[in-house]
Structures are given as structure tokens and as C-alpha cells.
């Protein structure tokens, strides 16, 4: 019979200290729910650095490539026209005129690509159910989620360890 502990704190700093105490005891903190980003919690509970930045860069460079390719095709390869006597012979000669669109399109792809990835990876999409254990976690409460399953300690030992922290409220549920 697995148990899940929802430990509630009324302050981000107390939660942080509590977390480090527990982690010191070798207890694994599964998740933290907070109304705003608690700076410095990630290393404590072992959240890895996100790679979204890299993704964004890749999206953006795809955009750049697409833009240049497209303009080369439209203006030079497919149907070159004499527009105001301006050259329509090679990409290089026409490049100055293509810079703005290239930049804008890169930004477009970069930003949207990253935003979409972000929402997908979070699983935060229209119509998704809220999964925070307690409505107050989006207000002024901070909840730490600890499961027996992830920890070698027995439920009682865990509870004892948790109780040692300055918690505000504790709810224990059976884990289905």
C-alpha cells in the first residue's frame, strides 16, 4: 500500500529549508507546487535544467533557412522580374532587400516553435485538468509532494521526518 504525502508550507523559504533538510536525510521530494517560481528549489529537489533555449535556437535557424530559400525561389529562381531595374540574378545581390523578412521570419519560427514546445512538454494545453493537490497552491501556499514509492523509508518514518519541518498542514493519501 503506497502513500503520498502533501506537505503544505505557508512560506517559500520555509519550504526551501524543509526540502533541503529532507533531501539531506536521503528523502526524495517528488514535486513542489507553488504560486510562483521559488528560486533555488530546483537543485535541491533535483530538477534538471531545461533545454528549451536550444530548441528555440534551432527553430529560429530553421526559419532563417526557410526564409532565404523561399525568397531565392520566389524572386530569383522561379520567376525573376525586372522590378525598378533592381537585380534579380543572384541571392547575394538581392540580399540587402531580404534581410528584414529573413529576420522577422526567424523570430516568428523561433518564438512560436518554442512556445508550442513549452506547452506540449508541460502538458498545459486548452482543456487540460488542473493537477495541483490544493487550490491554495496557486494563491499563497506551497506544497511538497513526497511518495513512499519513490523512497526506501517506510511511511511512518517518512511522516516523522516530515513532521520535523515547520509544516503548515499535512495530508496523507493512499496511492492508487
Amino acid at each position: 500500500m503506497n502513500k503520498v504525502f502533501h506537505v503544505m508550507y505557508d512560506d517559500d523559504d520555509t519550504l526551501k529549508t524543509a526540502a533541503s533538510q529532507l533531501v539531506a536525510k536521503g528523502i526524495r521530494v517528488k514535486e513542489v507546487f507553488s504560486p510562483f517560481p521559488i528560486h533555488g528549489i530546483d537543485p535541491i529537489i533535483g530538477v534538471k535544467r531545461t533545454r528549451l533555449g536550444i530548441a528555440a535556437f534551432m527553430y529560429a535557424s530553421t526559419g532563417t533557412a526557410l526564409a532565404l530559400l523561399g525568397m531565392w525561389y520566389f524572386m530569383i529562381s522561379d520567376w525573376p522580374m525586372n522590378i525598378g531595374g533592381k537585380p534579380s540574378f543572384s541571392l547575394i545581390e538581392n540580399l540587402p532587400a531580404f534581410i528584414p523578412v529573413t529576420f522577422e521570419f526567424s523570430v516568428l519560427c523561433g518564438a512560436h516553435g518554442m512556445a508550442i514546445t513549452y506547452l506540449l512538454r508541460n502538458g498545459t494545453l486548452p482543456g487540460m485538468p488542473a493537477t495541483n493537490p490544493d487550490p491554495r497552491t496557486t494563491d499563497n501556499m506551497f506544497v511538497m509532494e513526497i511518495t513512499t514509492e519513490q523512497n526506501s523509508l517506510a511511511a511512518e518514518a517518512l511522516e516523522a521526518a516530515i513532521k520535523e519541518t515547520q509544516l503548515f498542514e499535512l495530508s496523507i493519501k493512499d496511492y492508487k
Binding site: 528584414p100 523570430v107 496557486t138
Partner: protein
């Protein structure tokens, strides 16, 4: 925990706790609509409807219902476009640039500033659309494969750059804004009792739960988006300015335009933010979040940008003389001495003289003075665009075609109408959206909250 110097003025006044912040922002949304709000939205929506009527008449009859003519092919339409785009710059600038510079004071204003940006850009986007002779084929500006065979758009044209710039800017700011909104919608969702409202905000919040991992991603995304949006802000108005700078019309063909337009945009954008926030903080009792310090900070930005704009004006004049080009120099002589000199001098007074008053701390920190001047500045910036556009083309190279422009009722109606639509949207935002970035404010409560600062001082 990060600290900040005691001498720094607190950004959040009063004895606030996390809970208070939530209540202060979500409270008004839960409560019934105040009478003042009802009155304002009625007025603005009536104006909006009138504006829409004018636009429909325009589309039904032809561009001829405006006062344009063979010499002046652009006037109020593009003036309004540039004016609105300019205003639309403050929001992203505040949230992006100031985020990069780690300016905490932005957190009180960025949410509404961004909202303003979105709405302003929507207003701006109306004009390139309706100023077309054949709006029903406006989609031809996109490089779409089509039944005409190899018929592509002209990537040499600054107007096409505009299409990309404006659409990118709009969608990116929208995304930026919304990603910031998601956690706050979650907060409202969890506070809502009425089932419908709960469902609605539940949908809007995308099921946000505030997990630690999500928060890290959230901050990363905000940072990267800010990083992308910053050059975007500058590029957009630079490109708008290229509509003029790449032409050959004396008074338009000016290399100084991009920086000059961008600073002008920030200038007018901040002024508009002032106008809106000063009303909002009163209306929604947000005095403790948006207070004199914020206003002062913004006024400082206004001084700086205003002065840059002033320098740009003078540089233009100097260069027009220094260039020794007949047409160039006449274009500028005509600006300040010709038939439209009145517009030029309104512009000069409003944009160059009036912001200098902010050098006085008293004025800078006086809310009423700020409010008045913010409106003056926006009038000035509208005239700046009018001067650039109309006085340059109404007398260009060939004197035989010199003409003048007289606005019609439809010109005026459309412009007033967009103001109406804009305020309707903004009032809607103020009523149903979290007008402050809750999650961000809470992060700075301890560092910049008045009460916490007091505690710090004790130690």
C-alpha cells in the same frame, strides 16, 4: 534569499502578504462590475460602433470617401497606423527589455502594458488593411501558390517587410503575454466559486498547476522570449520607418529614421501606458502596486526618448541644409514655414518642449501633471507622423502637382472609432484579466515590499 539596498524605495507599499496580492487583483474580478466601468465601456463601445460604421462605409464606397488625392496618397490612414504601432511598442519593451535588465519595477505594469500593446497593434493592423483600394484581395501580399501560375510577391518592397514585421510582432507579443497569463489564470481558477467562471478560467489556464519543473521552464521561456522580442521591438518600428526611408520622397528618404522612429515609438508608448495606468490604479485601487515610483521611472524613460526624438528633429533640419540638395532643403523649409507649419509647431511643442518639464522632480512625481503631459505627448506623436507623411508628399519634386490634404468626416470617424475599439478592449481586459502579473509580483514581495524592507532595516 536575494536582498536589495534599504535606500531603494519599496515597489510594493503597505503591509502586504502573498494572500493580499491575490485578493487585491482577483477581488475586483470576482466582485460585481463598478458603475464607473459600466459608464466608460458604454461610451467607448458606442464610439467603437460609430467607427466600425465609418469603416464599412469606406469599404463599401471606396477610398475616395477619405480626403486623399493624386498628390497626397497617404494621410490619416498611415498616420494612424504608425501612431498605433508606436504605442504598441511600450508593452513588449517594458516586459522584454526591462526583464533583460532585471528591472523589478516593470512587474507592476508589464501585464497591462502588454495588453495595451496587443490592442494597439490590432488597431494599427486595421489601417494597412482598410487603406488598400481592394481589401478583398489583401491576401495577395502573402507569397501563396496561386492559380495565376508563377505570381509571387515583391520582397524588395518595404510594405511587404511591414506585413512580416507587424504580423510577427503581433503574434509574438500575444504569445509572450499569454504565457505570462497562464499561471495567473490558474490562480483565478482556483479562487472562482461560480461553476461557469471556474470552467472558463480553467480553460484559459490550460490546467496549470505550478509544478517546480514547469516554473523553471516558465522562467526560461520568458527569458528567451524576452531575448527574441527585444530585437523584434526595435526591428518592427525600424521596418515601419523604412516604408518612408527607402522611398525617394524628400523628407521621407532619411537614413536617421529607424532609430528616430523607435525612440519615438517608446516615447509615445510609455505616454499611453501612463494615461491608462493612472486611470486604472485609481479605478481598481492598485495604488500600493503602481505608485509614484513607477510613474517616476516611466517619466524618466519619457525624458530620455523625448530628447532623442528632439535631437532627431534637429538633425533632420541640419542635414537637409547641409546636404545642399535643393528638394531636400525645400522639403524641410516647407515643413516649418509652409501651409502645414502649424502641425510642425504643434509637434515641436508637444514632443520636444513638454517632456523636458519632467526634469523637475515635482512635476515628474506629480500624477496629475504626468497624466496631462502623457496626453500632450500622444497628441504630439500623432502630429509627428502627420507632419512626416503629409507635408513631405504634398509638395515634392514636381511643383505642378503640389496639392493639399483636407480630412473628411470619414477620416476623422475612422480614427476616433479605433480609439473607441481600443478602450473597449482595454476595459474588457481590466475587468476580466489579472491586471498585475501575480506570480511575478509575489517573487519580489520579500525583496521590495515595504513591510519586508522594514524588517530588514531592523536587523
Amino acid at each position: 534569499m536575494q536582498r536589495e539596498a534599504a535606500i531603494r524605495e519599496p515597489l510594493i507599499l503597505g503591509d502586504k502578504s502573498y494572500k493580499d496580492i491575490t485578493d487585491d487583483v482577483v477581488g475586483p474580478i470576482q466582485g460585481p462590475a463598478p458603475i464607473g466601468w459600466k459608464i466608460m465601456i458604454t461610451i467607448s463601445s458606442i464610439i467603437a460602433v460609430y467607427g466600425v460604421g465609418c469603416i464599412l462605409y469606406l469599404l463599401g464606397t471606396g477610398i475616395g470617401v477619405w480626403g486623399l488625392n493624386k498628390t497626397v496618397g497617404w494621410a490619416w490612414d498611415i498616420t494612424n497606423f504608425v501612431w498605433w504601432v508606436g504605442i504598441g511598442h511600450a508593452g513588449t519593451l517594458i516586459s522584454a527589455v526591462l526583464l533583460l535588465f532585471r528591472q523589478k519595477w516593470r512587474m507592476a505594469i508589464n501585464r497591462s502594458a502588454e495588453a495595451m500593446t496587443i490592442f494597439a497593434v490590432i488597431m494599427a493592423a486595421i489601417f494597412p488593411g482598410i487603406h488598400m483600394g481592394r481589401i478583398w484581395v489583401s491576401y495577395w501580399v502573402l507569397p501563396l501558390p496561386n492559380q495565376f501560375g508563377s505570381l509571387w510577391v515583391n520582397f524588395n518592397s518595404p510594405l511587404l517587410w511591414d506585413v512580416f514585421a507587424i504580423s510577427t510582432y503581433f503574434s509574438v507579443s500575444l504569445v509572450f503575454w499569454y504565457i505570462g497569463l497562464i499561471p495567473d489564470f490558474a490562480t483565478i481558477r482556483d479562487r472562482m466559486t461560480k461553476p461557469f467562471a471556474k470552467k472558463a478560467y480553467g480553460l484559459l489556464s490550460f490546467g496549470w498547476s505550478g509544478r517546480a519543473k514547469h516554473w523553471t521552464r516558465f522562467e526560461e521561456v520568458s527569458l528567451v522570449l524576452a531575448g527574441i522580442a527585444t530585437p523584434l521591438v526595435f526591428s518592427v518600428h525600424s521596418i515601419v520607418s523604412m516604408d518612408f526611408a527607402t522611398s525617394i520622397v524628400p523628407g521621407w528618404h532619411t537614413t536617421i529614421f529607424p532609430p528616430y522612429f523607435v525612440s519615438g515609438a517608446v516615447f509615445s508608448g510609455f505616454a499611453m501606458v501612463q494615461t491608462l495606468l493612472l486611470i486604472m490604479r485609481k479605478g481598481m485601487k492598485l495604488e500600493s502596486y503602481i505608485h509614484v515610483k513607477h510613474v517616476e521611472y516611466m517619466n524618466i524613460v519619457i525624458i530620455v526618448t523625448g530628447s532623442i526624438v528632439g535631437v532627431a528633429y534637429l538633425t533632420e533640419l541640419f542635414i537637409s541644409w547641409y546636404s545642399g540638395v535643393e528638394y531636400e532643403s525645400y522639403a524641410f523649409i516647407n515643413r516649418f514655414s509652409g501651409p502645414y507649419s502649424w502641425a510642425y509647431w504643434i509637434m515641436m511643442t508637444c514632443n520636444v518642449i513638454s517632456p523636458q518639464l519632467f526634469w523637475f522632480k515635482k512635476i515628474r512625481r506629480s500624477l496629475t501633471a504626468t497624466f496631462a503631459l502623457s496626453i500632450v505627448v500622444n497628441i504630439g506623436m500623432w502630429f509627428e507622423r502627420y507632419v512626416i507623411i503629409v507635408t513631405s508628399i504634398h509638395r515634392d519634386y514636381d511643383p505642378s502637382s503640389w496639392g493639399e490634404f483636407y480630412p473628411t468626416n470619414i477620416d476623422i470617424g475612422v480614427f476616433i472609432g479605433t480609439l473607441g475599439i481600443f478602450f473597449t478592449l482595454f476595459l474588457g481586459f481590466a475587468r476580466f484579466f489579472p491586471v498585475l502579473a501575480l506570480n511575478e509580483l509575489k517573487t519580489i514581495l520579500k525583496s521590495s515590499g515595504e513591510n519586508y524592507k522594514k524588517i530588514q532595516d531592523k536587523h
